[in-house]
Symmetry: C2
Subunit: 385 residues, 2 copies
DNA sequence: TAAATAAATTTGCAAATCAAATTAAATCAA
DNA sequence: TTGATTTAATTTGATTTGCAAATTTATTTA
């Protein structure tokens, strides 16, 4: 019910009854409880449009922002970006910290996270104790339910109970997940999947990530390490990937893959930024064009495989960097559509969503909001961390 | 509850309470209803082992076989195989009919199905009216909820409401689905996934099919045409597939793909059966070996992609034909394991399940059993056909 | 034959939810 | 301005669901 109110931002009881299928009587009972607990509040709807109707006017309900505060953190390559949201989902503050290193011991990382949160909350005039939960997004292979990191480019060690380490340090509930999963959560909460119960989000950062939402739930797989689109294979014995295997999609579309190819060609030996390669391609340079084109065709192939497996209603290509434009080009989407099983019914909607650089942290905050709501209602967290 | 009893075949109330988490009191209430409706029955447990215990003895419950009968049908290339199961899931009769054609008009196919069912029930001494539901498995792209066939190799037309056509002809509820999905249902009901709520079944017949079970539910995708493993791409601009596209997994591992390659080589120009090619490979023929090996490596790649996406706990390689042995070889499974993201926790269990030729029809029967049980309990079918 | 033991059932209660009746808050029409 | 009308929200009383605890039933053991 909280989630429903959050989705609509403002909604009167009678519409809640309509949209959830719960009777009006029960909606009254439930919302009365939530009001008493201070989790929601009534707003007198001042929209003049509605004043035309006769009868008792609807009274909108909304989440009470002051009820809780949550922090979202993205652990990036050499930075921590953090956001503070109120319970309504409104962003109150954000804060970005540069890091000296890009790989840490778990304890040292916990120090940095703790410092970043202090910085964030103090600018917002809030004490760290007033935070009800912290969502953390990190690249790598993560078991979100356990708060366990099998491997991450940000950690020296493998198999770290990072969720527990952070929780011990911060003294508030910590919700840890793979960063791509959190983008999916953000798309559902703030983004382009507000109305969708089943969709797939694909993110391109330095690697290729995926978040799968089925029946309003993140699908995480048995060990919590599914959705590794970047390491699905698109070529038998193909290009070498950072993961040590060959033929991974990432090894054809990631920055390092494009630069590796550029380095082969005499003409582009000195190219060190993907942007330069892309602009050369746009200017008609045939070698640059061939490199970029192949990346697009490989990406289309990876996308097509996802469509052939999931037959989703919606795919969101979600990225912060303009330099992935070549992968989001209409020729690439068309190539994907030509590589899926064809039936006489339109295929998935594909939308491109370019976010600012806070997208990752906001996803983490959205995750924390979901979990804190769960705790507020049930009294305990669902996962087993 | 019915499903739980069916899974255990025989189970006393107290164990049902244990395994479902429902209180003993409620189990008594529910099972009393089921007993009254005649859907289950008590069996005096005659196992001498239990007689050692003091106290009131447990009374096993089981599904009452006579409560309902269902038919399962597989529409194959030039045959219809049918099975008759009682409500307990016990196979009462089976019947195989050869067909003149392999592609039909919908009405003509309905005639053949109707005749086959008559033949089946009459050998079992049952009238067609005593059948509570018919499960139908067909190759192609199917929206199971609607009973709608977008395309099937067995039908001349595209976009046929085959479920409705069959239901009108037979006068009993018809449950239609893609054949690979039904194998997944059969694995859950009778096979190797009795204890698993999440698993993936891969079938190799003339094509490559897949059934995805997530949270005890078949995952079918938005339009009902997901799980098309056979048409995921394993090679950019690769071998031509029957579907008209290039690089499909099927175009590397299906019979026709192997024979196509054999036809290229002078040495194997006359080979017309895959079995011959396989035995040549086993005998050390280098060309045959190269053909068969590549199929295995491509299959491993397709499998690895599934693991990287789903991180399943169990994969069942399920096939009726011995001639897929080269794809189920341990080298292939090992190659798959070497192509998935590696973490310090064991990957999916992979099991090979070779069925008799009635596997497809039994899957259809299992599907019908599930749906007829649903109707018996709720009073209506869940889907919208 | 009585005591002990364990399964199954019954009983009475608590929580959740709903349909229908009622109340509340507004507009409309005379 | 006032009563009729309309629509939202609440209250009421009933129903359903499911449980814990007490009781009954069926069996073994002493």
């Amino acid at each position: 019910m909280l989630a429903e109110i959050r989705r609509y931002k403002k909604i009167p009881r009678i519409d809640l009854s309509e949209s959830t299928g719960i009777s009006r009587a029960t909606v009254t009972t439930i919302t009365a409880d939530l009001l008493k607990e201070g989790l929601i509040e009534e707003v007198r709807s001042e929209t003049p449009e509605k004043d035309l109707r006769r009868g008792r006017p609807k009274v909108d309900l909304k989440i009470r922002g002051a009820a809780h505060h949550v922090v979202g953190i993205k652990i990036a390559n050499k930075s921590l970006s953090t956001v503070l949201h109120d319970f309504e989902g409104i962003q109150i503050a954000d804060h970005e910290v540069a890091l000296e290193e890009s790989v840490f011991e778990a304890d040292a990382l916990a120090d940095e996270v703790s410092k970043a949160i202090e910085g964030l909350t103090s600018t917002a005039g809030l004490s760290a104790e007033e935070v009800s939960g912290v969502g953390v997004g990190i690249a790598g292979t993560v078991d979100a339910l356990q708060g366990f990191v099998y491997w991450s480019p940000s950690l020296h060690q493998r198999n770290v109970e990072l969720g527990q380490v952070l929780e011990d340090r911060l003294g508030v509930p910590v919700f840890l997940d793979n960063d791509a999963n959190l983008v999916a959560v953000a798309e559902r909460a703030f983004g382009l999947a507000k109305e969708n119960s089943d969709f797939i989000v694909i993110t391109i950062e330095s690697g290729v990530g995926m978040g799968i939402v089925i029946g309003n739930e993140l699908y995480r797989g048995n060990r919590g390490c599914g959705a590794e689109l970047g390491h699905t294979k698109v070529q038998l014995d193909g290009a070498l990937c950072r993961c040590g295997q060959r033929g991974c999609l990432e090894a054809y579309v990631a920055d390092y893959a494009l630069l590796r190819e550029a380095g082969i060609s005499g003409r582009h030996k000195s190219v060190s930024k993907v942007e330069d390669l892309l602009s050369a391609a746009r200017d008609g340079d045939s070698v640059a064009k061939s490199i970029v084109d192949r990346a697009g065709r490989m990406f289309a192939m990876g996308l097509a495989n996802i469509v052939n497996i999931f037959d989703p209603e919606l795919i969101i290509l979600s990225g912060e960097q303009m330099h992935s434009d070549h992968l989001y080009a209409s020729e690439v989407i068309d190539a994907m559509r030509n590589s899926v099983v064809h039936i006489d019914k339109p295929g998935p909607e594909v939308v491109i969503h370019k976010w600012g650089d806070l997208m990752w942290a906001r996803g983490a905050a959205a995750f924390a909001l979901d979990e804190v709501s769960e705790i507020a209602i049930t009294g305990h967290r669902e996962n087993a961390q």
